[in-house]
Structure formats: C-alpha cells, structure tokens
C-alpha cells in the first residue's frame, strides 16, 4: 500500500497545559481509524527528539484509547516555568504546535480522514 508523509496537525489536534516547570500536551486523533498511527509513530522518543533544545528530563506518554487521544508530559521544559522563564510565552502555550509538526506516515487508505491541507490534491 502506498503511503505519504504529512505533519501531525493533519492527523490530530492538541492543547498545551502547564504546571510549574512541567508541560503537558494532548494529542487527539481526528478519527478513530487514525489513532493506531499515533500510537505507533508519535512515541516518547520521537517527542523527546522534537523538544531536544528544551532539554526535557523526562517525556511520558499516557494513552486514552476510548478518547483516541494521548497525553504527553514533558518534565523541565519550561526554563523554570511561568515565573522564572525569560520566554515571552513563559507558560509554553505554543508548544503544542511544535509537537504537531512531527511528520507522520499515513497509508493512502486513511488519507480521507485527514483534515486541512486543501492545496494537496490527494486530500479529501
């Protein structure tokens, strides 16, 4: 079966939350049939790599199969958190969009469930 690579934000959506120096980022599949792709490809290792410059001390993935969602917890990625970081976005609210840039390999049969990407003629 032929496959193609798309950014994660076409497969799933998510939101960042923060508590202290810890960030959590949800990743919610747009469709139940896309969920296995997330489990297989959006791993703790892959996410740690995406956030390498933030030096996470630990990345934990929690699976919520009934919600077709997962929750990533990234420890020590906020340069101290909302009161200590020098970042304009000291909560790290934008970080979900860094995670959602991870490329995902999608079989053609599932492309009809992707969202966005209207300029791509192969998209439904």
């Amino acid at each position: 079966m032929s496959r193609s690579t798309v950014p994660l934000h076409r497969v799933a959506h998510g939101r960042t939350g923060d508590k202290g120096n810890r960030s959590n980022i949800s990743v919610v599949a747009w469709h139940a049939e896309l969920w296995p792709l997330l489990v297989e490809q959006v791993t703790e290792e892959r996410v740690a790599e995406q956030f390498a410059h933030r030096r996470p001390s630990r990345v934990t993935r929690h699976l919520l199969p009934h919600l077709h969602a997962m929750n990533f917890v990234l420890d020590d990625v906020l340069d101290g958190g909302v009161n200590d970081a020098l970042n304009l976005d000291s909560h790290g609210k934008a970080l979900s969009f860094l995670l959602l840039d991870i490329p995902v390999d999608v079989p053609d049969a599932l492309r009809r469930h992707l969202i966005g990407g209207d300029t791509d003629p192969a998209a439904s």
Binding site: H13, G17, K19, H53, H66, N87, D89, G116
Partner: protein, 455 residues
C-alpha cells in the same frame, strides 16, 4: 438524595476574562427553570501572589479587580431566581470581596444577599512559617528563605463551599480552592452525596474541570482556520454543565451564542493541565480518566461518561511565591531589506554590552521567538533568514534593581548606537515572583466558612 439535575454555568475562566459572558449563561439557567449555580474561576497560579501585593498596598484591595464588572450585570437576576454564585474571586481578600458585593447590592437597591466567606487556604501568617519551612525542606531539598515571601496558599477543596451553601449562602466567596471544587461544592450540597463517594466526586470534579476555563471548552483557544473552524468566537458562549445524581455531566452552552461544543473541543479541555490520566489529583478526590468517554448527544451537547474516583490525597498542595529579583525586557523593530540581519546584529551588541550581568535571552519576533529555549540553542540552530519585519526582544533577570535597569537603558541606546533603522523601543522592568510548591498534611489546614456580618 435529590434526583433533579443541577446546572452549573461558568462565566469566567481566569482573572481578566470577558465580563459580558455571564448574562447569556444566566439567561439560559433561568430558562431551564431547575436548580442552578453560577461560578466564576478567576485565580491562575500567580494571580493570588499579585493579589497579595495589591492588598499590601491597600488593605481593602486584594480581590478580583473586575469583581464588580463581572457581577453587576447578573447579581440581581441571580438572586431573584435563586441562582447561587460561587467563586474564588476573593483571591487574597475574600472578606473584602464579600463587603464589596454587599455594597454593590446596596447600590443596586436590592436586598443584601447572604454572603459566605471561605477561609483556611492562606498560610502566609507568621505562625504558619514552621509548617511551610518543613514542607519546603521536604520538596526542594534546599534551605528556602521566607523573608521575601509574598503569598502561601493551600489548594483547599469543596467541603467548606458545600457547607456554606447548605447553611443558606446565596453567594460563596473563596480564596484559593482547587478550580474544579467550585463545581464540586454545589454538587455535594445539592445531591447530598457522602463525602467519600469517590466515583461521584470524581465525575463532578471532571465536570468542574471542563467548566473551569470558561470558553476553552466551547471553542475558545481551539480555533485554527482551515483546520479547526469555530463560528463567532467574538461572542463565544460560556459553558453550562448539567450534572445528574450520579455525577455524570452533559456540557452545553447558551442558545444563540457563538463557539461550538463537540467531542473535540471537550477532549482538548478534558486533558488540559492533566498529567497522569489515571490519577488527576485534587483536594476532593483522585479522578481516573482512563475509561472516560465523550458522546455527542446533540449539537453543542456533549456527555462525559466513564470517570471514576479513588480516595482523596492525604496532603494538600501549597504554592509559595517570593519576590526574587527583577525581570528586565526591551524591544526594538527593524523592517525592510536585511531587517533580520540588523536585528541579529542589535542582539549581538546587547549581549556584549550586558554579558557581565548574566544570561540574556534574545528573540527575533517574526523570525523565531517563542518555541526556543532561554539559552538560545534553538535560535542558534536556525538558518539565518531574510525576514523583512523583525522585532528584537531581549530579557534578563537580575537580583539587583540597579543592575537590571541597565538592560532597558542599553536597548534605548540602540536608537543612536545600534544598527540602521531601528525604531519603536519599548522597555519594561518588573519585580519577579518566583514559585515553590510543596505539600502539607490535610489536618494542618483547617477550613471553615463564615457569613459576612451585616453592613
């Protein structure tokens, strides 16, 4: 036990939220005709520390600055229809907030409501220092000085809220309570659940969790054009949870408002600020979301099922804020040909001028400013681009105010000493509040409520 559902509407998700949100929510609660409560959640982590500073400057201040703007449009209608109001807008001065609400009722020419004040969360008194020192020593493993402490508050739970409502309060004003407890308290009082009915408490907790950020469950903070389109966010409807006697809830919003509630908006908010979904810790219960399901039952109506609970933790979380040093920031814009290189050069000049003062964060707004790290690893790894509209932003923290003031001066001096065409300098110098978290035994934080004495 009471069987009729309880409707809880939420009209604010943080201090500074829209103040015209409450009216449509109250209209919908009135139209439903059943028992209903209105909550406002206005205390983010650092809001309380800022409120303590405000109270230091003025003993009558220290509660939500928008209190009157939030309540004035709906206070009379809520009281007339027995819609009770529960909020943490008391912040660092719940009694002050209660007095202000009573005064507002007088201004409006309405009967003075029975206002309950929840107490016990504030641990900043001198007498509580040994408790804090012991708890901080355990959580931080280093000696922590409390001389510069601004605030110390425990996250307390729903019980004093429920007790106040059962005693006949029309309005319950709290300081720091766990956000979902604003909904759990009314549910406890309404349904008469046992206080160790962990499953029902966990379900009401997650209903409160879905409500606590206001429009974040009804399309706010969700929209992404072409990917996640949401209608009429300019008039987003704030959420209402219909809670049944088993604690399950259906989330909806007032008719005719903007925004949307569907399975995706609810899932994003359900996991917001959750860490381990098997153990969402609150002072009331440990909620377990692993079997949670969301079901779209009608347009803008989503039901949450499958949440269960376990016994609440034996300790309470405490946030301690201290005044520590100064945050200095400065910005200057470059536009047109080679704008990015000129902004980068300005950053290098500032780094050299300020090197001896410590770490300087450099951002190139328009080319890279948010996803990077304070040490500049991310920015250094980006290829130099050709951005034609870039705002340089620099920031540093210094213990001494006089030293921190060097940064705004150096940024301003770029007007004459920096690269060509720099404009629009803005600088800021703010005292910095640093946070520490620790845990104290529940028994060391007695909570209670008291009714405001008549004016």
């Amino acid at each position: 036990m009471v069987d009729s559902p309880l409707r809880i509407g939420c009209a604010a998700g943080f201090s500074g939220d829209r103040t015209d949100a409450a009216q449509p929510v109250v209209d919908a609660l009135v139209a439903s005709g059943g028992p209903a409560v209105l909550i406002f959640e206005t205390l983010a982590e650092r809001t309380l520390a800022l409120a303590q500073l405000a109270r230091r400057a003025n003993p009558d201040a220290g509660y939500e600055p928008l209190l009157v703007d939030m309540l004035r449009p709906v206070l009379e209608r809520c009281l007339a229809h027995r819609i009770r109001i529960v909020s943490n807008f008391g912040a660092a001065n719940p009694a002050g907030a209660a007095r202000r609400i009573a005064a507002l009722a007088q201004e409006l020419g309405m009967p003075i409501p029975r206002i309950a004040i929840v107490e016990g969360d504030d641990l900043s008194a001198e007498a509580r220092r040994p408790l804090l020192r012991a708890a901080l020593a355990e959580s931080t493993a280093v000696e922590v000085g409390l001389e510069s402490m601004v605030s110390a508050n425990a996250y307390i739970g729903a019980e004093p809220i429920a007790d106040a409502l059962l005693a006949g309060a029309d309005i319950v004003v709290t300081g720091r309570v766990a956000d979902p407890s604003l909904a759990v308290g009314p549910a406890l009082a309404h349904f008469g659940w046992a206080r160790d009915d962990w499953n029902r408490l966990a379900r009401a907790t997650m209903a409160g969790h879905l409500l606590e950020c206001g429009a974040q469950v009804s399309g706010g903070y969700y929209a992404d054009p072409g990917y996640k389109d949401i209608p009429d966010l300019a008039h987003a409807g704030y959420p209402i949870a219909e809670i049944d006697a088993d604690g399950h809830c259906t989330i909806t919003k007032p008719p005719g408002t903007g925004g949307r509630i569907d399975q995706h908006t609810v899932k994003e908010q359900l996991l917001y600020e959750v860490h381990d979904p098997a153990a969402y810790l609150t002072p009331d219960v440990v909620a377990d979301l692993r079997e949670a399901r969301v079901v779209e039952v009608a347009p803008d109506r989503v039901r949450l099922e499958g949440v269960c609970g376990r016994e609440r933790p034996s300790s309470l979380k405490v946030n301690v804020f201290r005044e520590q040093g100064w945050l200095a920031e400065g910005e200057i814009s470059y536009a047109g040909a080679r704008a990015e290189s000129r902004a980068r050069l300005a950053g290098e000049i500032l780094r050299e001028r300020l090197l001896h003062l410590g770490k300087l964060r450099i951002d190139l707004i328009g080319a890279g400013s948010v996803l990077g790290d304070d040490d500049g690893r991310w920015l250094a790894a980006q290829p130099r681009g050709e951005a034609r509209d870039v705002r340089l932003r620099v920031a540093m923290i210094h213990a001494e105010r006089l030293q921190a003031e060097r940064l705004p001066r150096e940024v301003t001096a770029l007007y004459t000493c920096g690269p060509a065409g720099g404009g629009g300098v803005r600088t800021a110098l703010k005292q910095r509040l640093s946070t520490l978290s620790c845990f104290v035994p529940r028994g060391d934080v007695p909570t209670r409520f008291a009714f405001l004495e008549p004016l």
